[in-house]
């Protein structure tokens, strides 16, 4: 009897009759590794090593009871954050990730002291001790967390990308999530809107092979995660996340695509975490041999070390770098251990911004 009048369809990728999914993979296959300068390569090495030593120390502090709750270490995955974030435009692009977030913050060059002090829940922590390991932010660096709900950062990242588009600032959002989060419904809700609206966002799946204790093959019908954007016309890239130069090269290609206004990219970085899901995970769902094999043959830091030595750096040079990093981490740990806890008066601060 009555029906709503028909309305015109909005402009969308589906309206383009000539649409063909652009293969960024071909571009990557044509040239897989980034030509880093000697300085850049050394920076990558130092950043990755800092993350590793920091995380090792965090594991120790957890064992001593100085860090509480959940603490998810990034050991093994260092090349992903370092390779990608080194390609960002500072003070412009935004980054958001899940709870395994220490490495991403260190890759920004944020002072390890304030990160470690947050892990120990101290006043000097980057969130004044009120966030903890999973909830750290640095708006100064346009790092938007640090989110404890699996997959939430994907939709929030879509919003950050919307803000870049809205403000026409030329920036992009880098939204990291894991193979576990990749099965959350809101990820696909976000893929749909991001592609529909051509949002400037790079979705990065850090596939470390296990969603907590569940291997990808036990949880995912499609384990080639980079294909999962196809239904939304989002080009996918499969990247060796254990090779910082390949990650960086992939970042160059993906960022260019996004900055040209061609919509989102889905990048799967295959990687591996050496430690358990969190500190309380005995990791009995995989064999020691499997972990050992990755450490011996695919370690991202060892790979760069090898190149550095081939380029003429001596073992002693590299030992000196390690020594310097260990010192920085030790100082951060001491700082985190000796800083005071937040004043009890902080309990009721920051709940709301305004007074009512």
């Amino acid at each position: 009897m009555a029906k709503a009048p028909t309305k015109t369809a909005p402009h969308s990728p589906a309206e383009n009759p000539d649409f063909a999914l652009h293969s960024l993979q071909e571009e990557l296959e044509a040239k897989k590794r980034y030509d880093a300068t000697d300085d850049q390569l050394r920076d990558f090495y130092e950043q990755m090593l800092l993350i590793r030593r920091f995380e090792e120390r965090a594991g120790q502090l957890y064992g001593l009871g100085l860090i509480g709750g959940f603490c998810h270490l990034y050991i093994g995955q260092e090349a992903v954050a370092v390779g990608l974030q080194s390609a960002l435009t500072e003070q412009l692009d935004s980054v958001i990730t899940g709870y395994r977030d220490h490495g991403h913050m260190l890759a920004y060059g944020i002072d390890p002291k304030v990160i470690m002090a947050e892990l120990t829940g101290r006043e000097a922590g980057i969130s004044k001790g009120k966030g903890g390991s999973m909830h750290m932010f640095s708006t100064e660096h346009k790092f938007y967390g640090g989110h404890g709900i699996v997959g939430a950062q994907v939709a929030l990242g879509g919003g950050l990308a919307l803000a870049h588009q809205y403000n026409e600032d030329g920036g992009l959002c880098l939204a990291y999530f894991g193979d576990g989060a990749a099965n959350q419904g809101q990820v696909y809700e976000t893929f749909n809107m991001a592609s529909l609206w051509k949002l400037p966002i790079v979705f990065v799946i850090e596939n470390n092979q296990y969603a907590m204790g569940t291997a990808v093959s036990r949880s995912s019908a499609e384990t080639e995660f980079y294909r999962r954007g196809t239904a939304f016309r989002i080009p996918g890239m499969k990247v060796n996340g254990m090779d910082v130069l390949e990650v960086r090269q992939a970042a160059e290609i993906a960022f260019k695509h996004v900055r040209e206004g061609r919509g989102p990219v889905l990048m799967e970085c295959e990687t591996y975490r050496y430690r358990g899901h969190s500190m309380s995970d005995p990791a009995k769902y995989r064999t020691r041999e499997e972990v050992q094999d990755v450490k011996e043959h695919k370690d991202p830091i060892e790979a760069v070390k090898k190149i550095l030595i081939e380029q003429g750096n001596s073992e002693d040079d590299l030992k000196a770098i390690d020594k310097g990093i260990r010192k920085v981490v030790s100082e951060a740990a001491d700082f985190a251990e000796n800083s005071p806890e937040p004043d009890p008066s902080e309990l009721y601060t920051d709940v709301l911004v305004e007074e009512y």
């Binding site: 009897m1 903890g132 909830h135 932010f137 938007y144 939430a152 939709a155 601060t349 920051d350 009512y356």
Partner: protein, 463 residues
Amino acid sequence: MAIELKMPALSPTMEEGTLAKWLKQEGDTIEIGDIIAEIETDKATMEFEAVDEGTLGKILVAEGTENVAVGTVIAMLAGEGEDVSEAAAAAPVDDVPGEGKDVGRPEGSGEGSEAEIAKPAKKWGVKDPEIPHGTNMATVTVREALRDGMAEEMRRDERVFVMGEEVAQYQGAYKVTQGLLDEFGPKRVIDTPITEYGFAGIGTGAAMGGLRPIVEFMTFNFAMQAIDHIINSAAKTNYMSGGQMRCPVVFRGPNAAASRVGAQHSQNYGPWYASVPGLIVIAPYDASDAKGLMKAAIRCEDPVVFLENELVYGRSFELPELDDHVLPIGKARIVREGADVTIVAYSIAVGLALEAAEQLADEGIDAEVIDLRTLRPLDKETVLESLKKTNRMVIAEEGWPTCSIASEIVAICMEDGFDHLDAPVTRVCDEDVPLPYAANLEKLALIDTPRIVKAVKKVCYRD
């Protein structure tokens, strides 16, 4: 016999509509399926389609006529061989003033009829302290007040935008965003897919990124799909970041029971959101508060849940004609002064409480009525001051009683007002059941004026 063409009911809450346009004229041949007219409802412009064939006879309601009641004969359709002029008897056009006619809930039973609720609210003699004396008042619907509040803020601040289902091209599922697309364009009035979790997250992320999003939920029932972002992402971030990361987003839409839409579409989420530190929760009743608090919500640096009510959208109230009508968040308002007993209410229940107060006045009980307006932070002071004066209190809430705002007010009175109590503080809420569909059961389940009157008499020991 000619067929009567009647004004159709085109939505669950529609009681009248505007006959926007006749697409057929008297004498035109009508085939089944022809579009005869366009009718504007409370929600959208709809096409009126012929289900019988014949010749259009007398048009009884001219195009452009507003407030045509459902069931009014709008034209006659002559069958084959019939005289088109047969339909001479003009059906009376329901010519009531255009306020609040989408109030769908029948009150029935003599006390507190629907028609009375639909009237423009009277001013009860107590002026809102925020409105300067002598300000000119216009009469507008809550729907228009909300829209105007948003539009003014969008003009004022480029960062403000609206997103949600059907907010742009469709002009709003409940027409609250009507006209915004025309003025502000698709960049700032964004139609989303049906994907609440996703777009609530995108809106929240955009706020983190420095914008001022207004996220419309078609109703708050659907926001349950998105509640993770409202609570975990929006409400907690400022605290978790030690004050670094703000999230100035407004989540808005109709909340609580509508009319005959059943359990999944009828729930008051006020108590849910009001229990969460880090959120501001606003639930206005009249047009002035709707506009003034909407503007405040958009300017607010904190995340706001703004709970509207579908049954109130069409009601008209006085609205002060001010250049910039912004009201304070967190302040209740005494909407009727009284000495004997206090009725605390918010949202649609304010109308019921005011009506109860009028009835009680006839029986010699002078009730004070407080509209909470903001549910979090709750204005304890106004509640306790009133209790101090009247010593008796009833809370009227359209929502479940268990763990309700009413429960919270009871606790506040026990903890901070015990010495002023002359009778137990009493809750009048909906029944503690999922809202039934059947008209009689729905009526039984929902709060109404007689129940408030009864509770007030009880605390006044007058029953």
